[in-house]
């Protein structure tokens, strides 16, 4: 550890003088972009799947949709995210003849992947809302879908917000594998600085600190959001 100060000096030099900060900012932007957009896509897909899975299954269409959704969830929960990234980037897209950047593929795959997880979170949220809420909505003539959107899902989201925050945090951390398909995230930026100076210790340490700071900021945001959503409760 004797030469630690020198390592720090070396890092600061490459961070500022050799424009390392530009790469870090670019990486931070990509990491956040993939995580946030992935989460939004995931919430949309997840809500849709969760709603499909709680429809009463008397008719054929809901049954078929339900089967499809189970298959989807099974597929995306059953394979590692790295495998999904690689399969999409090196198998699916070439087969379909589509060209996409690494970041775009990452957004797509993270969206699809978190959709599978969020669907289960959302389903538990929907089931946690009293059945009477749905009945009351139906009794005044609203359709299943309208009652779901206006009454049940807002209450479900309130119940699952802590878990959803968990999912977002997990998503941010998981994005550190997108370099597999050539997307330049935080890891790529610090790895580059390390390889340039042959000193990995300080860059990776700083990287860890940045991830922790990101997660802390997000947890704070979730806490504030939860508080504002709890308006209609007595639990302040």
């Amino acid at each position: 550890m004797g030469n630690f100060p020198q390592k720090v000096d070396r890092f600061i030099e490459s961070f500022i003088a050799q424009n390392g900060y530009v790469r870090v900012l670019e990486g931070l932007k990509n990491t956040l972009f993939i995580a946030v957009l992935g989460l939004i896509i995931g919430i949309l897909i997840g809500t849709l799947i969760a709603a499909v899975r709680v429809i009463p299954k008397y008719k054929t269409l809901p049954r078929v949709l339900n089967g499809f959704c189970s298959f989807y969830v099974g597929l995306f929960r059953g394979t590692p995210i790295v495998v999904q990234l690689l399969v999409f980037y090196y198998v699916m897209l070439p087969l379909m003849g589509i060209r996409m950047t690494g970041v775009a593929v990452s957004v797509l795959v993270f969206g699809l992947n978190s959709g599978a997880y969020i669907s289960e979170i959302m389903r538990s949220g929907i089931l946690s809302v009293d059945l009477g809420q749905m009945e009351a909505g139906r009794a005044v003539g609203l359709s299943f879908g309208t009652t779901m959107m206006k009454i049940v899902i807002p209450q479900a989201v309130k119940n699952i917000l802590p878990t959803l925050g968990n999912e977002f945090i997990a998503l941010i951390k998981e994005t550190s594998v997108v370099s597999f398909v050539g997307a330049a995230d935080l890891y790529v930026a610090f790895n580059y600085m390390g390889s340039n100076t042959y000193e990995f210790m300080v860059p990776y340490l700083v990287m860890a600190v940045i991830y922790i700071l990101l997660v802390l900021i997000i947890s704070l945001g979730i806490k504030l959001m939860e508080r504002s959503l709890r308006k209609s409760d007595r639990r302040h």
């Binding site: 809420q133 009351a136 009794a139 005044v140 003539g141 206006k150 209450q155």
Partner: protein
């Protein structure tokens, strides 16, 4: 207004309703009583297809709503329902609870009308002068719908003396207040009939009175009501027809004086002797 013909409902092998026949006219106040497990709640919930009947017909305003092909949402607008556990929308304020369905459904109708007009306009482009169709008249807009619903909601709240609670969330109301709001929520749709599923069973004894008073007021205004309840006093005073159910069938149906004064069926006699001590 409602004709129930041979209504049946079973959950798997468990037959809950075994052929119910009853006619309910406009202005009727029907009270359904019976021991627990007799199927009276299921009967009520079948009337607006909250539980889908497995057999028989329910003719409501000339349409068989037990038929699965009928768009039940359209008919439920004319059939209010009040629940044992109030079921106010927890994420909406009191006035939003009352306004939600009237505003949403009126706006939905408005959108449909506009879509139809757009289609007529499009097809008119390809038609000659005389073949052109007239546009459907649109008399209202979103703002007017909202304003009218708000005014109606406030006047209903005034009627139950809770106008100062318009902007609070249901979690801050007492049980009796919740149930009265739930009743005017169904009233806001201007229903032809209101179904009450044990409206006072989840209330403190102290609060039962205020809910029953509101129901009596409604009865006085000529609202058609079907009420499942254990309040025998209320049945005696307000109902014009009392029904006794046991094991999924109607055993006796009579005006209250005859029902309580001279019960015929032995099962009803036994029931009344236990209830009215």
């Amino acid at each position: 207004m409602i004709d129930v013909i041979n209504l049946e409902k079973h959950f798997g092998d468990n037959k809950v309703l075994r052929g119910i026949n009853i006619t309910i006219d406009k202005g009727d106040i029907v009270v359904v009583i019976g021991p627990s497990g007799s199927g009276k709640s299921t009967f009520l919930r079948c009337l607006n297809c909250m539980e889908d009947p497995t057999g028989g017909q329910i003719i409501f305003n000339g349409v068989d709503i037990a038929d699965m092909k009928v768009d039940i949402n359209v008919h439920r607008r004319h059939m209010g329902m009040v629940f044992q556990h109030f079921n106010l929308f927890n994420n909406k304020t009191v006035i939003q609870n009352i306004m939600l369905a009237p505003v949403y459904l009126a706006c939905q109708d408005l959108r449909r009308l506009k879509r139809k007009n757009a289609w007529i306009r499009l097809t008119n482009l390809f038609k000659g002068g005389k073949a052109k169709k007239e546009l459907l008249p649109i008399k209202t807009d979103k703002a007017a719908i909202k304003a009218a619903a708000r005014e109606n909601a406030l006047s209903l709240l005034k009627k139950i003396g809770l106008e100062d609670k318009a902007d609070v969330y249901p979690s801050t109301l007492s049980g009796g207040q919740k149930q009265r709001v739930a009743i005017i929520r169904s009233l806001a749709m201007n229903p032809d009939v209101i179904l009450f599923d044990e409206p006072t069973s989840a209330l403190d004894p102290e609060m039962v009175g205020e809910v029953l008073d509101l129901m009596k007021a409604l009865a006085g205004e000529g609202m058609t009501m079907i009420i499942v309840t254990h309040e025998m006093g209320f049945a005696k005073e307000v109902a014009n027809k009392v029904i006794f159910m046991d094991e999924g069938t109607i055993l006796e149906s009579a005006p209250p004086a005859e029902f309580f004064g001279a019960p015929k069926h032995p099962r009803l006699k036994e029931f009344l002797s236990k209830v009215l001590v």
